[in-house]
Amino acid sequence: MGGSRAAGERLPGTWFRGRWLPWLLLAPQLLVIAVFFLWPTLRALRDAFYQGDAFGLSEEFVGLRHFAHTLGSAEYGHALLLTLAYALLTSALSLAGGFALAVAVEGLRSGRTLFRTLFLWPYALAPAISAALWVFLFRPQVGLGAGLLEHAGVHWNPALQAGQAQALVLATTVWQLLAYNFLFYGAALQSLPPSLLEAAALDGARGWRRVRDVIWPLLAPTTLFLVVTDLSFVLFDTFGLIDVLTQGGPDHATETLVYKLYEDAFRNFDQGAAAVQSLLLMLLVTGLGVLQLRLQRRRVPA
């Protein structure tokens, strides 16, 4: 990052006489990028402007019709709002939770390693697997969590109740992200200069004041990084989680952008709409990435 040289400037000792060797070394990665990124992207770009017939035998150019149709549809608007709410809520909750847990564990006199290990486990699981765990826990009538909820007087049936399905997806996502945020906040806390915290102790900053005035501002770069990472995780990597938990139901109540895209592409076979949605989603992630770089660059001199 910091020490990278301007493009075109050669580091001493990295001179290759042959022209083919650098390309050969790059080839595996370039191949992966071409097959899994470039080709699908180009394909989506093309599909967004064409309409095929039901049997895939002919296509016609339709201009911006798919875009107009998608952006004008109430379902897309619904999915967009739902996704934004989902992303913001999960990120906020897991950031606050991860930070609080990290600070709490750092303040322990003993047992830090134990808690660090335990809190990390959810992160080690693939989203689909953690979703499967939650499905077992919250299956009506048989799940342990479901039983507790019933006991508390909640009529638990996420397959029918939209709010309950949303809560289930939210809880599972937060549970998983929390571990990730805890890991990063924990590492950042440990790398704070001890003398700063000692200076705070001498100044009389204790408990909540210490966290609010000293620790939280010092961890701002970590928070910035995590906000963007969390948002992109929620926006793009939660497909498997939702698929296992609710399949976007009941009645589209948990159908986020990425899940709707999948539905349109592989259930409704609406290639054009799916292509448009994937392009919009890509714009969103690119925007997030640019935002992160901008903010980081502004912070680096400090």
Binding site: P193, S195, L196, L202, D203, R206, A302
Partner: protein, 356 residues
């Protein structure tokens, strides 16, 4: 302002001992310097006074009150850290006023104290800046400002000048001394730099291996080092320490097969004993009819003075001569005399001072 008293304070980290039971009294308004090589326990001691470490045993009293059980912030002390430990996200003004805000002082009082410190240290042009926008010396000054606005009973300095370049270090040293003169606050200052210790201290505490080797004014410690460690630690170049023994009648000290050196007073109790003879570089004087021959190996010209590295008998030795041009050349043998009042005798085994 207050006194500081330590009674049998010690510190263990697991099985290792950082500080053996140590007692020390610091008078009201006194400037005491803890000096020693790294790992000698001086920082541990300072951190226990600050409350950043808790002692394994013993009692610490500030102003007559035991503070062992008190939080650092309740001890009414201020500390300046080696790396300054300024809050990077706060401006200089916020850094200065933060502790006062936490103490819930009135706004007018905070402004008064901050303005006073700003005036005293010349921080006016820096107030709106963040620590990252300051030079090392400026950060150091802000760190001192943050300490003095609290008007504490006790100042603690933990190697505050180690991160500065030599020129700035000299400058800040003078500034710290002047600051103490103006404020008169009791101060404990930790350093590994003997020049800082000699120039700043009203009383210095030389430490080694987790215990106090000697306590005294810089003059006392320099003139009468209590052990070979203290003798070798202070002065640049340090005192020459030569293996020797006392003659059987206790009147002379013998180094290798050189001419016997008379003791200023006979030491019958030491007769025949193996000792370490300590001679400061300036206690050896070139003289045409000098007692001992010195073979010159290396000359160092420091401008106003000359360092002569050579060997006396079979032992290495350094002389300091106040002259600019050297009449000698490397490889020469010259005669040197010893001012017999300037010799120090230490026990050869324990290194403890014997006489005079």
């Amino acid at each position: 302002m207050a006194t500081l008293e330590l009674y049998q304070v010690c510190k263990h980290f697991g099985a290792s001992t950082a500080l053996t039971p140590t007692s020390l009294q610091v008078a009201d308004g006194e400037f005491v310097v803890l000096v020693g090589p790294s790992g000698c326990g001086k920082s541990t001691l300072l951190r226990m006074i600050a409350g950043l470490e808790s002692p394994s045993g013993g009692e610490i009293r500030i102003g007559g009150h035991g503070v062992n059980a008190q939080e650092p912030s309740a001890r009414d002390i201020a500390m300046v850290f080696q790396n300054y430990a300024l809050y990077p996200h706060m401006s200089v003004r916020e850094n200065l006023s933060y502790a006062l805000k936490l103490r819930k002082l009135e706004r007018a009082e905070i402004t008064r104290r901050v303005d006073w410190a700003v005036d005293l240290l010349g921080l006016q042009p820096l107030l709106a800046r963040k620590p990252a926008e300051l030079s090392g010396g400026q950060r150091q000054r802000v760190a001192m400002g943050r300490a003095i606005v609290r008007e504490p009973q006790l100042f603690l300095f933990d190697e505050p000048l180690s991160n500065l370049d030599a020129r700035l270090r000299n400058h800040m040293r003078v500034e710290i001394k002047q600051l103490h003169r103006r404020l008169g606050t009791t101060t404990v200052y930790v350093t590994h730099d003997q020049v800082e210790a000699m120039t700043l201290a009203q009383r210095m505490v030389v430490m080694n291996h987790g215990r106090i080797e000697q306590v005294g004014t810089p003059e006392e410690v320099y003139a009468q080092p209590a052990s070979t460690f203290v003798a070798g630690f202070l002065g640049a170049p340090p005192m020459n320490l030569l293996a020797a023994h006392i003659s059987t009648d206790g009147t002379h000290v013998l180094v290798d097969d050189l001419a016997p050196l008379p003791l200023p007073a006979p030491q019958p109790a030491l007769a025949g004993r193996a000792v370490t003879l300590g001679l400061r570089p300036e206690a050896l004087l070139p003289a045409v009819d000098g007692r001992w021959p010195l073979t010159l190996n290396l000359l160092e010209a420091l401008g106003g003075e000359l360092l002569l590295h050579g060997s006396l008998g079979r032992q290495a030795c350094v002389l300091r001569v106040a002259t600019t041009a050297s009449p000698w050349r490397e490889g020469d043998t010259l005669r040197v005399d010893v001012a017999s009042t300037a010799l120090h005798l230490f026990d050869a085994a324990s290194g403890q001072r014997l006489a005079p």
